[in-house]
Symmetry: C2
Subunit: 321 residues, 2 copies
């Protein structure tokens, strides 16, 4: 099985890797200053540690896209590139003590998305029908239809955010009403804060599996999982199952704290499944944790159990010389 | 000869590597937000690409150490750790269009300098007798005496900064009057700005060689070199020679632009000399170049000519997969 040097990429949180048809792995993530979106690419996952980034979008001076640029994801849809990201108008918290992010979409129609910022066009906010804190959108295709999967606050529900799903009429516009797939309800989803965020999806063994992250982004951060058969209506929440326990969490013995905000890719062999996530290696954070830059990107292979579910194991220890 | 994957470390400018007696390579550099000083360490140079940093000092909210933390260097002197760094009170330029940095020193008396910020003590500004823009201090020992080598503005001399040398009575206090070793005078030292900065020293073949960086920090940035026999008074400027041409500069054919701000270390074999420097891989910078994060740390072996002088070759191309 493939092994990788971990951490793979220093000081990149909310990591997202996409293996494109051009043979490159594309990588984007939150940068410590939360001020821009960058992309790097390499032909190997190991190469991403050394790959030179390009800034492809930067925050506005003022307005809804001027602060705290979080968790970009790069998707290639019908021959064009799209990035979803969360942005806020202010770093201030609202009356409920929440950040004030909304989700936005930018598009690039050149084959190489790294050529220039000038090639990226803003498609505006992705409206969900609910004007509240939202973040961490991803998307996927099923039966020729595009789905949008994200985290959002509902003022009627305890906690910071729940997970929602909707179909899209184009990459920045929903065409169905959001349905809630999960809310923080178990104790391990409510340590520090009640949170479900950072969804990622993988299709295998006749099912869709959605991993997500729960609790505060400290050592309590952990991954949960939802699943649904792939031959039913994904927009019917009753078709979904939810794991009662986390599927991936801190390993105190190896100082791997708060793994999560994952994405999925595949190894260079085209077969081995790889989970991409971030993790800290200490718990005592001085100052504002938001500006502690040391969430590092890790990658590790995972396998599938006989019952068809993924076995993520535990966060691998660091192994650099 | 050792080969390394370049760039070695993404988005770290003004890189400094020190190989300590504990077997670790210690690395520090300017971080893109210029807001803190961090250290990482690894047993190999390649490991530094993956090594988890620790913040060991962060900028003050206000005052002379509150802005633009630049170019830290880590030194081990008489059993204690010291870091020299430049800091400013404001990001504003002064009446001459210059940044307003001064040099500061912090000290740590624990064997492991990465344990905690709490172990680091501020020793204040390093006073040179001239109250002007200064930066990029390094130090070295010769015949049991400690020397301080840095860049500073003299209002009487054209340009941003010259190179100065003095003896120290302790790691944060000079004991002799600064003598000027070099000022920007050749055309390649004055492209964009007239600059001599970022000195680094290496002792070999009966001489001390001081490399430094000249011109603006764009593709014109290039390295010059001074040298002096090791059996004369280093504080007599007339003993020093200066190369009339750069010793290291951009390679346009491989898109390596503005190499400089170097330091020296030795390979894992204990013998091969290694030059550490930063470099950009594009020239079209959008927005304020100061906040373009893409100066990356590179490392490459170098050799010595028959006449005893170093041959740095040219910036190696990127070689990641």
């Amino acid at each position: 099985m493939a092994t990788y040097i971990n951490p793979l990429i220093i000081q990149r949180a909310d990591p997202f890797i996409y293996k494109h048809t051009d043979g490159y792995y594309y990588f984007t993530a939150s940068v410590p200053a939360y001020n821009l979106i960058e992309i790097r690419r390499a032909k190997t996952l190991a190469g991403l540690a050394h790959a030179a980034p390009r800034t492809i979008w930067r925050k506005h001076d003022t307005g809804p896209m001027s602060q705290l640029i979080w968790a970009p994801e790069l998707h290639h849809i019908d021959g064009k590139w799209f990035i979803y990201f969360a942005a806020a108008e202010t770093t201030d918290l609202d009356a409920n003590g929440m950040f004030q992010h909304r989700m936005f979409c930018i598009e690039c129609d050149t084959a190489d998305p790294m050529v220039s910022e000038d090639n990226w066009v803003e498609r505006g906010q992705v409206q969900t029908g609910l004007d509240s804190f939202c973040l961490d959108a991803t998307c996927f295709e099923k039966d020729g239809e595009l789905y949008y999967l994200w985290a959002q606050k509902d003022p009627e529900i305890k906690g910071n955010s729940n997970l929602y799903l909707a179909k899209m009429q184009n990459p920045w516009t929903l065409k169905t009403k959001p349905v809630m797939l999960s809310k923080p309800e178990f104790s391990w989803e409510g340590k520090g804060f009640w949170v479900n965020e950072g969804p990622a999806i993988i299709h295998r063994n006749g099912r869709y599996f959605v991993t997500y992250s729960a609790s505060a982004t400290d050592e309590n951060y952990a991954m949960g999982m939802l699943s649904v058969p792939d031959n039913v209506d994904l927009l019917d929440p009753s078709n979904w199952s939810k794991s009662k326990t986390p599927v991936f969490s801190s390993d105190l013995t190896t100082h791997q704290y708060g793994p999560g905000h994952n994405s999925f890719t595949v190894a260079e062999d085209g077969q081995t499944d790889i989970m991409v996530y971030h993790c800290r290696d200490y718990t005592e954070i001085k100052g504002d944790p938001l500006y502690d830059p040391n969430r590092h990107t890790k990658v590790q292979p995972f396998t599938w159990r006989a019952d068809g579910t993924p076995d993520f194991g535990k966060p691998v220890p660091y192994n650099y010389d």
